[in-house]
Amino acid sequence: MNDSNKEEPVAPDPTDGSESDQGDGMGEIVNEFLVESYENLDQLDQDLVDLEQDPGDINILSSIFRTIHTIKGTCGFIGFNKLESVAHIGENLLGKLRDGELKLSPARTSALLAMVDAIRQMLSCIENDQNEGSVDYSGLVETLTRLQTDDGAAEAVPPVAETKEEVAVETKQEEPAPEPVKPSAEIDEDMEPIVNEFLVESYENLDRLDKDLIELEQDPGNTEILSSIFRTIHTIKGTCGFIGLHKLERVAHVGENLLGKLRDGDLALNPPRTSALLAMVDAIRQMLDCIEKDRDEGDVDYSKLVDTLGKLLTDAGCAEVATSAPASKPAEEKKEEPKKFVAAEDKKDRRKAPSAEEAEHIAKNGDKRATTDRRKETRGVADSSIRVDVDILDRLMNLVGELVLARNQILQYAPAKSDSSFIATSQHLNLVTTELQEGVMKTRMQPIGNIWSKFPRVVRDLSMAVGKKIRLEMEGKETELDKTLIEAIKDPLTHIVRNSCDHGIESPEKRLENGKDEEGVLLLRAFHEGGQVNIEIIDDGGGIDPEKIKKIALSKNVITQEQADRMGDQELVNLIFAAGFSTAEKVTNVSGRGVGMDVVRTNIEKIGGTVVINSFPGKGTTLRVKIPLTLAIIPALIITTAGERYAIPQVNLLELVRLDGEEAKKSVEQIQGAPVYRLRGNLLPLVSLNDALKIEEEEESEAINIVVLHADDRQFGLVVEGISDTEEIVVKPLSKQLKGISAFSGATIMGDGKLALILDVMGLAQKSSVISGHQDKSLAKAASAQGDAGDRQTLLIFGLEADDRMAIPLSEVARLEEFKRSEVEQSGEQDVVQYRGEIMPLVYLKKVLHGDSQQEDSPQEDADTELMQSIVFTKDGRSVGLVVERIVDIVEESVTVKRGANRPGVLGTIVVQDRVTDLLDIESVVASADPSFLVDTQSVALLEEA
């Protein structure tokens, strides 16, 4: 409400030098203001967008109004006049909107959003340079002013006079006009969050106020303290007025008047004034208590206090208060105060422990208070949350990490001891530590909604800018993840959202053409799964056109024509992650500013996450980001070399290859001294960890262990002496002396108390020149590697008869298993085996493909011992075993179907390793053998494509 009467006390006094330039004392206030304002601005963005959806929502409007008002009031007080003027004009517009004088139009919303941006900009200037910066916002002010009349909005004539007049009128209004929206002192249910926030804030403020007032009495000349008090009271007053707490507002208002005069030096502080101010603080506190419990200000009469405060505004009045009734007046005041205090204390006590004084309490405070007692057990709002420095949490986290390690060590010793009480204690320690770890982790967890809250604004601005209609939906806002991760994914997510709006969702006309709803939907979904956080960004736009991607990739020399021809659709779609790629046909101000999807992917991978894109042409695009819950503890593979252990983060790990004896000598080949290994037909560069770390090799071992790693889209094999196990490790940073070594990213303490260094796979790759220093070269290579992988498929070759060959893509195979014939059981007509605690039906491929005539009678002879080779195919959680005669090989080949299908169950014929090979149609085979097995048309399509 009354933006008007806040004006007067707030208006900065340019003659008051102590305010306009900020001394060190103001630093703290300014910082607090900045923190508060940034939070408020984020809220504001969201509120404004919400408001646009629902222009009639008075609660949102009120919330916005209040936020701007708070910012304005504080700036005025601190002396940020430019910021204040921007906020002021915005507040005026908002006031009119709230009072229903004006309607919210897109132009107005945009102007208000622009104002929020301007404020944010100024705040960051203040943060960096301690001043508001030199940007001229008069254009914005003018626009906002113009938008205050419907004519102005339409005609774009700036009726400056109008505003001035308005201001004049407003300043004249001394008495708080009744709040049109909230005529009753009872607080609307919808206001609850605002009120709670107000209460928490005010309680904090009041505690400081008490202290400040006492300090002020000691040092009456201290303008800094006075200013701080003034500001606090002003904030409380402003907020109450807005929420509709008129009684509270009045008390605060007279107090503020008195403080204003004290601050300006018109009056001097003396004991009666201090007492009266303290009494005011008590009264405010008491009312806040009532508000917290009953949602109204209580029915205590504060008119005497108001009166006293009013009298104290003049020195004469002060003398009257102090002298004319030296014994009676202050005494009366005092008398009244303790009473109130008792009442307040009483209530507080009751809240904690109900007592027999209840009846008396009700009698004293009226029936209405009876409701209080129902809430007395609940914790006060101010007690339910505290602010904690993130550094303290980090330290706590470190300590817990150490405790976990100590626990692990104790648990290792425990079984060796026969002392049962020691074992019991260590188990107890184990449990407590685990819970403590979880608890501390939780303190660092934040709901992802914190960063999503700015997306409605982003989407709204974007859709306006590009002329699209986009509705943003969010699911799983409450999904929590580590604060550091939240920060890390903020920018990548914003970029993805921007991309989806800009490129993903089509223009309304096109959407209508394609028979879709005019309004596009962008869905953000977050959920926990398998110890990871999944974030999906799903749009129902046009999807990604592989042909378009191909064209652009060619024109930008990301790939060569040859590569392009060999790439499949999915590989083409994945090209949007390649460096130097931007699909925007023209660079809009929305995207295409050089931060491409490659950066998004790099940033996500940096924190151990992955990003996958799925495009359904015509239907939309889904981006799935998976990130770990926390960075502090990661799974890692422990390897040994030269007697020391090293940890390799699991995210970098692809597979392990062990070559024994003869094979080891044979299969590692050299190209100009560079060792390579043929991994399924592809050359895998090998790096010896000993060489990379310049460790003297002790002896040539028999076997070679290759850890296949990927870094920056390249694969390489790390040759190590031994491979131990995977473990969850607590990552600890290296000291400054060792930071320069790129091969290590940190260290960890193992279960036995010894240390292991964590290998930085990226650094190692660069060090060993696996990743080329020349960006262009590596790009082309990366693309070609992708291209190769693209058209080439890894195929599993198997046979059904003595000399035939069939193939299925390895990606379709879940596992290869051997079963003894004796393990096969019957379930109805179906042969089944027990497999991993489930019953898996068996399909005899030979029978299906070659017909029943060719019964397998010979194998029955030595039924008990003979092993059956089976290919386990899993779909939608169900498995089926395809029984084949023999497994031949796994090869990587470029697949070109030479001949179409000539019989059921076969997709076509291809040539693999110069041999004619039938490509199995696994879905149809499974479907024909077991019709109940769900067949997904999409994967059939995928197969056909192959």
Binding site: I695, K732, Q737, G740, A743, I749, G753, K754, L755
Partner: protein, 146 residues
């Protein structure tokens, strides 16, 4: 009365060194270290100090002195610096000495460069000299590593 300062002393190649007592976190016997390949030569390894990973620097190497013979195990002097906690490997631990400022002097120019730039000053005690180590500079190694 002149100002008194307390130093934790230790020996390196028969020289007595000292660091301000308030910089020293603790002193402990030799403990097995985890070697760090590729690290600067001064870095002898990493030590697990009650769950905290600290770097151990060989002060002899840092000061350009003769390398300690293999059979002698060094002692750890753990100092707190701006760059975190670092362990300095020394030959032997001495007493905590209280010395007065008036026997303090700048290290003479003739002292070898490698030592001089890490020494804040010299206290002329009876029968021996106490060299005060600039621990901040002493732990400042490892920038040149690739």
């Amino acid at each position: 009365m002149t100002e008194q300062k307390q130093f934790c002393t230790f020996y390196l190649d028969n020289h007595m060194f000292g660091v301000k007592v308030e910089q020293v976190q603790e002193v402990f016997r030799y403990q097995a270290m985890t070697k760090v390949p590729l690290a600067p030569p001064e870095v002898r390894g990493l030590i697990n100090l009650r769950g905290q990973i600290i770097t151990a620097l060989d002060l002899r190497r840092r000061l350009g002195m003769e390398v300690r013979s293999e059979d002698k195990l060094p002692m750890n002097v753990v100092v707190r610096t701006e760059d975190g906690v670092v362990s300095l490997l020394v030959d032997e631990i001495g007493d905590v000495l209280e010395v007065s400022e008036d026997v303090h002097e700048r290290p003479p120019e003739t002292v070898p460069e490698g030592v001089r730039k890490l020494v804040l000053g010299v206290y002329k005690l009876e029968g021996k000299l106490l060299l005060i180590l600039d621990s901040e500079k002493a732990v400042d190694v490892g920038h040149a590593v690739a």
